[in-house]
Amino acid sequence: MSLLSTLARLEAIRSGRAEPLATVRHRHLSDRPMVVVPLAAAGEAGAPLAVLLGTDRAAPRLHLVPQPLNRTQRFDFLARFAAELLPYLESFGAEVEQIEASEKDPETGEKTQVFRELCADAPQLIVPNPGSIRHLALLGRSTRFRRTAEDADPGPYPAPTRVPLLGRWLTHLTERSQVPGSSLLLPMTGLLARHWATGQSHLEDQHLAAQLAWHSPPPGLTGAEAAELAETERDAHGQLTHPPAGPATDPRFDELVLAGAITRHDAALVALQHLTTAGQPAAGLTTADRPAERQRAELLVKLASEQLHAALESVLLPTWRDVWHGLDLLRTLPPAAHLAERWESDRWSYTGHRDRLAAGEPPQPKQDDAVTAARKLAQREREQVRVDVQEALDDPLVMAERRLAGEAFTGVVTEVTPAYDTSGRSPKPRPLVTVRTEDRPHADPGREAHRANGLAAQKAVIVGADPAEGTITVQVTSGMGRKKEPEPGSLPEPGDRITFTLFELTPRQSAPLPDPDDTPWTHGGPPGSADHSPTAAEEWE
């Protein structure tokens, strides 16, 4: 945490409300996001309990597993989840634009023009917190290798047809969410914490309701008091008035509400099954009573199921409203300038996965091979640098952090002196620009500086700094056109306020990895040398 965000937190403590950490919105928000609030069954990794999802805040859809230990019911749930989520994910695949690219022929070395499809938009899932992302990742891991009845070897417990597909999408989205700056799957707590500071620690910010309490505390309460209420307030039945955003439920809820509702549902179901399978009617009843008895049993199952729905809905709805409230807050911020560029990467990611599915590729392996892992790591590092640079350029508040760290300086131009490099055949313009600044960058002479938010990329070299005067002089070396004199408007004028950064504004390309076929055996060898077939003989209890 930087000193600037610490300061914002301190201010939030004093004001009792969340304080801004950004002046623009740094993440893309879709016009039609899908909010997903998943719940996990306690005690078992990746066991789903329920999910509340939808693109319409007025009409959330609830799906649940009545008995979390029952495999069939779990598959039914996953099939319903898939039926809800997959149409949304797939709906973005139809509208594409053609992107021109050149491809080098491996044999002739000739460049040919090719067109690649890029989906015009991509889906966006918003979940309450990082825990929800981990839960979705576990769901993806546990379902993408399932065999279905359509497979050649369905195994003893075939899953519904679309469930493995759901697993592959969830895996793709959760993997993508690890890439810095990506926006296909976003946790609301992280989004809010990126843009506003609360007067509590990061740990406490993981509680979505508590974090939101700092944004709109009820009249008469400070953010801290409102957050504490959100964390701990219980009603007359000992239930939290603001249940945790999941994926785990409150243990008291499990104990006092959920356990009973599940047991009742189980009992009703057993009674109904007993009636359907048993040949003999219950003692004292004639066969004529059977339809009535059956009807009664069905009614009981329905009642129990409704109770279960009501109980889970009551713990999910507050979080559902919180996530949408968070979206409202984020939409009040103007979008950052570089959002479209980063969203395009997300669209490429989405298109790529769409194409892999269409090509019939196998599901993502359990563990990446060395080359894939290296590639992913390199991508994440590159994207981290890109996000850091772009956020600084988009947002003066982020640039302020870099200035505080001595990596950039902002000031008013006091003097522009023409100068020329006469070492070559024709003199080149190398004007000197002096900036008066309060910042104290690590401006050693000879260090390269980059002009931020100029019309074109412009490099300069620091030639001198006078800390007593508060001035820094740089020699501009590029971005002035090809002529003898700098292009008009390409240089700052005295009185202009400009920013130079000491970090590069375009991330450096890392050295390319060798071709898959040239991969040494130390790094997994060429593809095909190892058997990557997914194990399907996995038990699932």
Binding site: G43, E44, S201, P251, E539
Partner: protein, 414 residues
């Protein structure tokens, strides 16, 4: 209780009992010890735990109950998993264990599971475990499994009783077995949970080392006590001393079948030993308490506390705490201490990182004053602004940060 080898043990125990009042003593489990070792500076927690005070009840009376609890589903699943491990003479546990220890899968030697008197008091159980451990270690060919043994560890001058899931003894050495219900998925598990399990197991290993040392000391007729080791990683080679690798038994992937992973706990052991040694001794903590301090809730016949909460708050207040936000998830008094930190305007409420960043500044008001002081008007001519004094770096940096923040937000508002 067999704590009487210390001369002043009796008054100490008596004093701790006074603090506890009429409530039964809460045993200090390994989880609590590991959490305490994570925040060794907290005197409040050290004292209340040493006295065996029911912190949850105290927190409840203070109006900020701890939100902890375990879901019945999680408990049920954990029990089922443990039960399955123990079926057929611990077959599910021994098979991966033998494979891991590199021993033949089928041996003629039967597994001995001595009765450890699970219904007795902790002190009796600890004594029984010690005897069973010595017997098992004496025969190198035997396989012995101590199911939920009771170990004793001296923490800050008072005994703590610990109950590992199991200890396997073979060849004169013992191995701690920790059964956990989080899965090992594709060969890896949640690092935070493995870390917590390793810290917990380190406490057991420490207790077993102490037991082995005491046993050896008793035999030699010497004075019992923890030997001083030349290095934190040095291991005394005594009969029955524990391996420094513990076995973690977890469900494999999404199944309920066990898988075993060996966890090297040398680092955790060294850390825990060091932090436990650093812990202020309880007698010193007691010495600084005002006379007559007690955390007695004075329950009436129905068991509901009658002690006025203000009086109780004063008693709690008399022991200083070292609040940090992760206390909220480990200590029952976390919410109370947070409220106090907020009341006291302390920067501790934002976490130890912020505390370190702000250096000598300890309160929010001070910090904001420092930010505002040197920066009365950010729009003023920058040359006329007072240069931050180099002698107070934290204040100067804060003022500079405040100026930058005001500038960035001001410009954005325009």
């Amino acid at each position: 209780m067999n704590v009487s080898h210390l001369g002043q043990a009796q008054p100490l125990a008596q004093r701790l009992a006074e603090l506890r009042g009429r409530a039964p003593q809460r045993s200090l489990d390994a989880r609590a010890l590991a959490a305490l070792a994570a925040n060794p500076g907290c005197r409040r927690r050290a004292l209340l735990d040493a006295a065996g005070v029911d912190k949850a009840a105290v927190a409840h009376r203070l109006g900020r109950p701890a939100p902890f609890g375990q879901s019945p589903f999680a408990i049920a699943r954990g029990n089922v998993f443990e039960y399955r491990l123990k079926e057929n003479g611990y077959a599910a546990l021994l098979e991966p264990l033998r494979r891991h220890l590199g021993l033949p899968e089928h041996t003629d030697t039967p597994l001995a599971v001595p009765d450890l008197l699970h219904r007795s008091s902790p002190a009796v159980r600890a004594g029984r475990t010690r005897v069973a451990l010595a017997e098992a270690a004496a025969d190198p060919a035997a396989w012995t499994l101590l199911d939920h043994p009771m170990l004793r560890l001296t923490v800050a001058g008072s005994p703590a009783y610990l109950e590992p899931d199991a200890v396997v003894v073979h060849g004169g050495r013992c191995t701690v077995v920790e059964i956990k219900s989080f899965p090992i998925l594709d060969g890896s598990a949640d690092p935070a949970k493995v870390g917590a399990a390793a810290r917990q197991a380190a406490v057991y290993v420490l207790a077993l080392q102490e037991t082995a040392a005491e046993e050896a000391g008793d035999k030699a007729g010497e004075e019992a006590g923890r030997p001083t080791l030349p290095s934190p990683y040095a291991v005394p080679d005594l009969p029955g001393s524990p391996e420094l690798t513990v076995l973690l038994v977890c469900p494999k992937d999404f199944t309920n079948r066990p898988t075993v992973a060996a966890v090297d706990i040398r680092r955790e052991l060294a850390t825990t030993r060091r932090q436990l040694a650093l812990m202020t001794r309880v007698d010193q903590l007691l010495g600084s308490l005002p006379a007559g301090t007690t955390f007695d809730l004075a329950p009436d016949e129905a068991g509901s506390p009658t002690r006025p909460s203000e009086e109780l708050a004063d008693a709690v207040e008399s022991v200083p705490a070292a609040y940090r936000p992760d206390c909220l998830s480990t200590c029952e008094l976390g919410f109370h201490c947070r409220a106090q930190a907020r009341c006291a305007d302390s920067v501790d409420q934002l976490g130890p990182g912020v505390r370190g960043e702000l250096g000598t500044i300890t309160t929010v008001t001070e910090a904001l004053k420092a930010a505002a002081d040197l920066n009365t008007d950010p729009t003023a001519d920058p040359t006329s602004e007072t240069r931050p004094t180099e002698t107070r770096p934290a204040e100067a940096r804060l003022a500079y940060a405040a100026a930058l923040r005001a500038e960035a937000l001001g410009r954005a508002a325009r």
